[in-house]
């Protein structure tokens, strides 16, 4: 018998994308429905690939998201699968456990949510599939969470559904920590994991798979996003392949501007990078963060004229396509080392004067005061995010760049 199922996780429906830096509503509109469009694409893909069931390994919603219409949207989408008789298996992740909104949802009967009190097994008799899973009862999970899963059911295709960070942090908070060998000991055929937003096939025997999140939400979540389509033949996993379902895409292009003569040449390199990124986006709206790196004498000018360069880069993006947006241009270049100043400062060496003033501890103290002054005016939620590192050096390079 041959069939397929889909494995998704970390939908985070209606979780807003990180700031695009776009004041133009038309640009914002390109990315506005990306998250919901990805959910709709997941349902459409489940139907189109004639999948026998859909697994969602946690974090359907953001924990602090209270808008119940988000849940109703998800229920409507699952309704499509229910009408076609396609069951959906869900474990609640740390975010779901924290979500007050999701508790009030009335899922269709074909949706089967794993209990949180203990791990349990749900069977699909006709397919001879045993699904083992356990939901998070609250945000934190006990260290032995993964050890509570039931034993393999012999003669069945055993699938473990688990929301975990595995042993490594992988850039996320550790939840339900366990090791690969811990999972292997269960003898399951497939571990459908969630929580890590980057797709990864951690192991193939047994299959331990993160599908990644359904829709990238920031420049840190780049590339294609979606779910895993798993093919089963005669009770054995034969193929696991990613399916891109995202409604919009993020990219982070690191552009080396070492040796460029001027901003125009730098802009040319940015344009090349954007073209590559856009070609890889499969026609989806693309938001790209461009980080300029390398050692260049333009360092100061790039810092000083970052906004202009960003506007030019955006214009270059629009030349490529109407949905090719540059989220931000970050200047991560460095200036070439300057020759040491003479022991006695030259009265006309303004650069040396600036360097000396920038190295003055009093200047650093003044900058710290400035940072505090501004932080006091920020909304409470943003105060923790507002920090400028290496402020004195940045100010020095910025000033020098403005002088050029």
């Amino acid at each position: 018998m041959r069939f397929t199922f889909l494995h998704a996780a970390d939908l985070h429906i209606d979780s807003p994308l990180e700031s695009l830096g776009a004041k133009d509503p038309a640009v914002a509109a390109l990315f506005a429905r990306a998250g919901r469009a990805a959910v709709e694409a997941l349902v459409a893909e489940t139907l189109a690939s004639d999948a026998k069931f859909l697994l969602i390994a946690g974090d359907i919603f953001d924990g602090d998201w209270k808008d119940v219409s988000t849940g109703l949207f998800f229920v409507r989408q699952l309704g499509e699968l229910s009408r076609r008789g396609i069951p959906v298996f869900i474990v609640r992740g740390n975010h779901d456990a924290d979500s007050v909104m999701s508790r009030a949802l009335d899922y269709p009967q074909s949706v089967r949510t794993f209990a949180s009190a203990r791990a349990e097994t749900k069977l699909l008799e006709d397919l001879r599939v045993a699904l083992h899973g356990r939901s998070f009862a609250h945000k934190g999970a006990a260290d032995d969470f993964a050890q509570t899963y039931p034993a393999r059911r012999e003669g069945w295709l055993n699938i473990g559904v688990l929301h975990t960070s595995l042993a490594g942090a992988r850039g996320h908070e550790p939840y339900a920590p366990c090791t690969l060998s811990d999972l292997a000991r269960y003898g399951y055929d497939y571990w459908a994991l969630g929580h890590i937003h980057a797709a990864e096939i951690v192991a193939r025997d047994p299959w331990v798979v993160y599908p990644g999140n359904l829709q990238g939400r920031s420049p840190r979540e780049t590339g294609a996003k979606g779910a895993m389509r798993v093919s089963v033949e005669d009770g054995r996993i034969v193929a696991v392949e990613p399916v891109a379902l995202d409604g919009a895409r993020w990219a982070h292009e690191v552009v080396d501007v070492s040796g460029v003569a001027d901003e125009r040449e730098a802009l040319g390199r940015i344009g090349d990078a954007l073209s590559r990124a856009h070609a890889a986006a499969d026609g989806r709206p693309l938001a790209t963060r461009v980080s300029l790196v390398g050692e260049t004498r333009l360092h100061g000018r790039l810092l000083a004229h970052r906004e202009t360069l960003e506007a030019d880069a955006r214009a270059r993006g629009f030349e490529i396509a109407g949905d090719c947006w540059v989220e931000r241009v970050k200047i991560a270049t460095r200036a070439p080392p300057e020759p040491a100043h003479a022991a006695e400062p030259d009265a006309l060496d303004v650069g040396a004067l600036i360097d000396e003033a920038a190295a003055d501890p009093e200047f650093a103290a003044a900058l710290a005061t400035m940072q505090r002054t501004l932080a006091e005016k920020l909304p409470g939620a943003l105060r923790g995010e507002w920090r400028i590192d290496h402020a004195a050096a940045l100010a020095r390079d910025f000033l020098k760049g403005e002088r050029e």
């Binding site: 808008d67 003033a357 100010a395």
Partner: protein, 1145 residues
């Protein structure tokens, strides 16, 4: 570093130029007139040190690959660096054989200085010098800013700091200001946050809307149920209302139909057929009678009609002629106009022929020239006219130029004199104008102050007539005045108290005396004897009353009343006698009180008198105090104030005296200056006005006039040469046009011959003839066109008349003699009448045929009706038509009743809502028909009430459902969250932008401040020395002061220690200060000293300031090389006189 040699071979306009600079010369001046290559040499120096720029402008004459600049540079260590430079990107330094050499030594010497720094710091143009002076003014004297302004780089940094600070302030300030980017983004964030909260649909909110929706739905269902019940009840009542009368009528009909049981059963169709036949028989008879009458009338009309058949046959031809009638009328009207037009065309041609000397239009048309001939004539005429005009203009211009040239040759400019000597004599006095102005203002102010003081002295109370006398007189001191004022105040207070005591004591005494008088007056009352006498009279009256008790009642009453009055009088006197005792006691008391109060009054009056005496003594003392000043004093307090005011006036008087002395000194200084100006004017043969200002201005005006005259003389010399050349050019032009005119005259006869003119014809005659020939075309065409039209019209009219005459002869010979239009009109009218008669006859015949057909049809129908009536009579056993009619009537009545009964049954079936008669009867058994309307109204009202409530309930349910559905669909909370995220990003972006700009501005300020702190003392000291030289020791040095904000400021110090702020310096002095600061800054440079290069920086200075500034540059040039480029000869001369080396390009 000193430049010792500079070679340009080749470079710019120079193929091989070498400039040598003497090693020990304090100042080099490179002189070159305009276009001599001064700028080229300047640029060459930069190219030598730093290389050719990519786009050089000095390769216009020579191949760029061949451009070379050479130089010899003496470094600070004494070594000589000989260089050659070519254009290129790499290895551009060459040796004598054009082989690349290392540039390490040069780069080491240059250090951090690049071309931009060299040109901006070591180079200085006149414009940059003036802008530098202005920058010092803008710096407001602030030391750090002033020092920064003296350096191009630091000045740029200072401006950049201001720009950055301005940019930062636009983004964010700690005080919230709407419109700043940060607060705009913050507001957007908070708005989006609010929007998110409002857009978030919570589970509780959704549940609440769901429950509300369901509750309202239940309420709506109940309303609908009630409505159904009410509707059924109303239907029952309305049904009864509709049917109860019909049910009753049905019962009546059953009784009436019982009377027709003897009639046979006849089906309705037969009965209807019989009745119809009976009606139709009567109708047919009436119609046949009508038709017979109409036939008779129509026959008579046909006989009366007459038709002209012959005329009708020619009808089409007559119509054709009538249609052509309008064309004939138009042709008749058109013919005279065309005849007139042809006549006018012929007349015009005759007139043109006359103008050209030809006998008539026929001859004219024979001589008509071709268009080509006319064009050639036109060309020839235009050419001759143009040549004549140009010749005339050229001759006029030549004459004017000749006159101008002769006038300029005759003019003399010997009177013009060089204004420079006078300028030099006046230059030192330029500042004295300000002194004169100051003196005038000072004098005015002094006079105004004197007037004010005099007025103030007079306004004092007591007034002071002579303030100077008052100043000399001894005045009481403040302590004495205060003591006197205090004593006066105490006496016044005591006196006021004593007077108050007197007043109160007097008031008390008067009150006591008034009381005593009252008691004394009251003491004159009833005595005891009076009382005893009254008692006796009372008793006597009682006795008399007792005697009359048996008498008349009236008398008894009278006596009783008398007795009662006497009793009352006696009682009153008794009371009075008792009261007298108390009154006497009060009187005694009042007398004692009055005496005591009189004594008090006497004491108070004595005290008051004593105090008055003391006050008089004090006044005498005060007068003695003010007597030496000849002032009649007022009160001590007023005099204390008087003394203060007088003292203030005396202080101002002292200050005024000082200012008068200063003004006098200034006047002496100006008088001396006026003598200098007077001598200068006398040398010019001019008298001098008395005042310095007038004299100086007159001298300046004279200098200006001399300058103007001097310039005018120079310009006039050039104009004289130009005028001579212009006169020659104009004469040549006139000769050329004369030759051209002769050539045209030779071709003239052939050109004008086609115009019927001879060779002697003038241009004007030829133009007139040409115009006349051009006028021929229009009348010639008109004459031909009108002639053809006239022939056509006349032929058409003749043809029409002939056709009409022929028609008349055929159908109406009596019209043959009439005019064609009249005859045709008559024929038309007759034809119309014949056609009308013909049409009437045809219509009558057609109607008669139709009527005959109808008569036949009526007769045929009557046969069928008669057969039907016969069958009915047989069925009903009616022996005659009367019996048949009666039987049919009864049958009809029975039929009517049956129909009514059937109709009622159908009605009940229709309006009984499906109930039969029995069911309706049962349903209405309990209803009272008379009450039905009222009950129906009530039921209808109830139903309407429910009906109206249902839509509202439904609407409320819909709203609730929509609210629920809307909530379920969401309120775009995700969009609001997205907006918040964008606003968050915007805030952080603005914060970063602000921080960078604010931090950079702070950093720039700190850098400038560090420079000031490091350079201030030695820089100010050295710049002060240079400034002293530059101002010919008008200023001794520079120093620092502090402004109101305790900020260090730069000041220039005169020999007497006077501090002059930057804004107090003249424009030229500020420029010199800027130059001194710039040069002092260059001297402080740690690296190799590069030459300072000035580009015409003295152009705006007068000779005096130029000399001083040359001295400044020479002073600088003793330690560092100074090179000055100029195109002013006098600057070069002054420099040479000052010991500078002058190189000429």
């Amino acid at each position: 570093m000193r430049l010792e040699k500079l070679t340009l071979s080749p470079y710019g306009r120079f193929a091989d130029l070498a400039l040598s600079f003497r090693r020990d010369a304090p100042l080099h001046v490179v002189f070159g007139a305009n276009e001599a290559g001064k700028t080229t040499a300047l640029s060459a120096l930069g190219d030598l040190l730093f290389g050719f720029p990519v786009q050089t402008t000095y390769g216009f004459r020579h191949d760029q690959k061949l451009l070379r600049i050479g130089g010899a540079i003496r470094l600070a260590d004494g070594s000589l660096l000989e260089l050659r430079r070519r254009k290129g990107n790499l290895n551009t330094l060459l040796d004598a054989d054009d082989k690349p050499v290392s540039d390490v030594a040069l780069l080491t010497a240059l250090g951090a200085v690049d071309r931009r720094i060299f040109e901006s710091e070591f180079g200085l143009t006149a414009r940059a010098l003036r802008e530098g002076g202005s920058a010092l003014l803008r710096a407001g004297g602030g030391l750090a800013e002033t020092i920064a302004a003296s350096s191009a780089s630091l000045s740029a940094l200072s401006k950049l700091r201001e720009t950055l600070q301005s940019d930062a302030d636009k983004l964010f300030t700690s005080r919230k200001v709407a419109g700043k980017d940060f607060y705009v983004a913050l507001d957007a964030y908070e708005a989006a946050d609010r929007k998110l909260r409002e857009a978030t649909v919570t589970a509780d909110a959704l549940k609440a809307t769901n429950e509300k929706w369901r509750a309202l739905s239940l309420k709506e269902a109940e309303l609908k149920s009630d409505y159904e019940v009410a509707t059924r009840h109303l239907a029952k009542l309305q049904r009864a209302e509709r049917t109860h009368r019909k049910l009753k009528r049905l019962a009546v009909l059953s009784d009436e139909l019982a009377a027709f049981v003897d009639l046979p059963c006849v089906d309705a169709a037969s009965l209807e057929a019989w009745a119809a036949a009976q009606r139709e028989d009567r109708e047919i008879a009436a119609r046949l009678s009508q038709l017979a009458a109409e036939t008779a009338t129509a026959d008579a009309e046909i006989v009366a009609l007459q038709v002209d058949e012959a005329l009708l046959e020619e009808g089409a031809a007559i119509d054709g002629l009538s249609q052509g009638l309008s064309a004939v009328r138009k042709a008749r009207e058109d013919l005279p106009r065309r005849l007139e037009a042809r006549h006018q065309a012929v007349a015009q041609l005759d007139e043109i022929g006359r103008r050209l000397g030809l006998p008539g239009h026929a001859a004219l048309l024979d001589r008509q020239p071709s268009d080509a001939e006319l064009a050639r004539a036109r060309t020839a005429i235009d050419a001759r006219k143009r040549a004549d005009e140009r010749l005339e203009l050229a001759r006029g211009e030549a004459e004017r130029r000749r006159v101008d040239s002769e006038r300029l040759l005759a003019a003399s400019f010997a009177a013009a004199r060089d204004p420079e000597p006078l300028s030099r004599r006046l230059a030192p006095l330029a500042d004295h104008l300000a002194d004169a102005d100051r003196l005038r203002r000072e004098r005015t102010a002094v006079e105004a102050e004197a007037r004010t003081l005099a007025e103030g002295a007079v306004r004092l109370d007591p007034p002071v007539a002579d303030l100077d006398a008052l100043a000399r007189a001894p005045l009481p001191d403040a302590v004495t005045l205060a003591r006197a004022a205090r004593r006066e105040a105490e006496l016044a207070e005591a006196l006021r108290a004593a007077q108050r005591d007197v007043t109160e004591a007097r008031r008390d005494a008067e009150t006591a005396e008034r009381a005593l008088r009252t008691y004394e007056r009251d003491a004159v009352g009833a005595t005891r004897a009076d009382w005893l006498y009254a008692r006796e009279r009372r008793d006597r009256a009682f006795d008399q009353l007792g005697l009359l008790l048996d008498g008349e009642a009236a008398e008894r009453r009278e006596r009783f009343e008398d007795a009662r009055a006497l009793v009352a009088a006696a009682d009153a006197l008794g009371d009075s006698v008792v009261a007298d005792t108390e009154r006497a006691a009060r009187l005694q008391t009042a007398r004692e009180d009055c005496s005591a109060r009189r004594e008090n009054l006497a004491r108070a009056e004595a005290n008051s008198a004593r105090l008055e005496a003391e006050r008089a003594t004090a006044a005498d003392e005060a007068r003695a105090l003010w007597a030496p000043a000849d002032v009649a004093p007022r009160s001590a307090e007023a005099m204390a104030r008087w003394a203060e005011r007088a003292g203030a006036l005396l202080q101002r008087r002292d200050a005024l005296t000082t200012r008068r002395a200063e003004a006098a000194a200034l006047a002496e200084k100006l008088a001396a200056a006026r003598e200098v100006v007077a001598r200068a004017l006398a040398d010019l043969g001019r008298s001098s006005p008395e005042s310095f200002e007038a004299a100086y201005r007159e001298a300046q005006a004279e200098r200006e006039a001399m300058t103007q005259a001097w310039i005018a003389a120079r310009e006039a010399m050039g104009a004289r040469e130009s005028a001579a050349r212009a006169a020659e050019d104009a004469a040549g032009e006139a000769a050329r046009w004369l030759d051209a005119s002769r050539v045209l005259l030779a071709d003239w006869p052939a050109a004008v011959a086609p115009l019927a003119l001879g060779a002697e014809a003038t241009v004007e005659a030829a133009e007139a003839a040409l115009e006349a020939w051009r006028a021929v075309a229009s009348p010639r065409q008109a004459m031909g066109r009108e002639g053809r039209s006239i022939e056509g019209i006349e032929g058409d009219l003749q043809s029409f008349a002939a056709s009409v005459a022929a028609m008349a002869a055929k159908v109406a010979p009596e019209l043959s003699a009439a005019r064609p239009e009249e005859a045709l009109k008559q024929l038309g009218e007759r034809l119309a009448r014949a056609r009308a008669a013909q049409q009437s006859r045809a219509q009558l015949l057609k109607t008669a045929a139709q009527r005959a057909a109808r008569q036949r049809a009526e007769n045929l129908r009557r046969e069928s009706v008669v057969a039907t009536l016969a069958a009915a009579a047989a069925r009903l056993s009616a022996s005659d038509p009367g019996a048949l009619a009666l039987a049919l009537e009864r049958l009809q009545n029975r039929r009517t009743l049956e129909d009514e009964r059937a109709q009622l049954a159908r009605d009940i079936a229709e309006i009984g809502d499906g109930l039969d008669e029995a069911a309706l009867g049962a349903e209405q058994g309990e209803l009272d028909p008379s009450l039905l309307p009222g009950e129906i109204e009530l039921a209808r009202a109830r139903q309407a009430e429910l009906w109206q409530a249902i839509p509202e309930a439904a609407r409320v349910v819909r709203d609730a459902q929509a609210a629920h559905d809307g909530l379920a669909q969401g309120r775009d909370a995700a969009g609001a969250a997205r907006e918040r995220n964008e606003a968050r990003g915007a805030i952080l972006d603005v914060a970063e932008r602000w921080f960078l700009r604010q931090a950079a501005a702070r950093l720039a300020g700190r850098a400038i401040e560090r420079h000031r702190a490091a350079a201030q003392d030695p820089l100010i000291a050295r710049a002060g020395e240079l400034f002293r030289v530059a101002t010919a020791e008008s200023f001794q040095r520079l120093g620092t002061d502090y402004d109101d904000a305790d900020r260090p400021t730069l000041v220039a110090l005169r020999a007497d220690g006077e501090k002059v702020k930057v804004e107090g310096l003249s424009e030229g002095a500020r420029d010199q200060l800027f130059l001194a600061l710039r040069l002092a800054l260059l001297e402080r440079r740690a690296g190799e000293a590069l030459p300072f290069v000035g580009d015409d920086i003295l152009a705006s200075f007068d000779d005096s300031r130029t000399r001083m500034t040359l001295a400044l540059l020479a002073d600088f040039g003793r330690a560092r090389q100074a090179i000055l480029f100029t195109h002013h000869r006098h600057v070069a001369n002054l420099a040479a006189a000052a010991g500078a080396d002058v190189l000429e390009l």
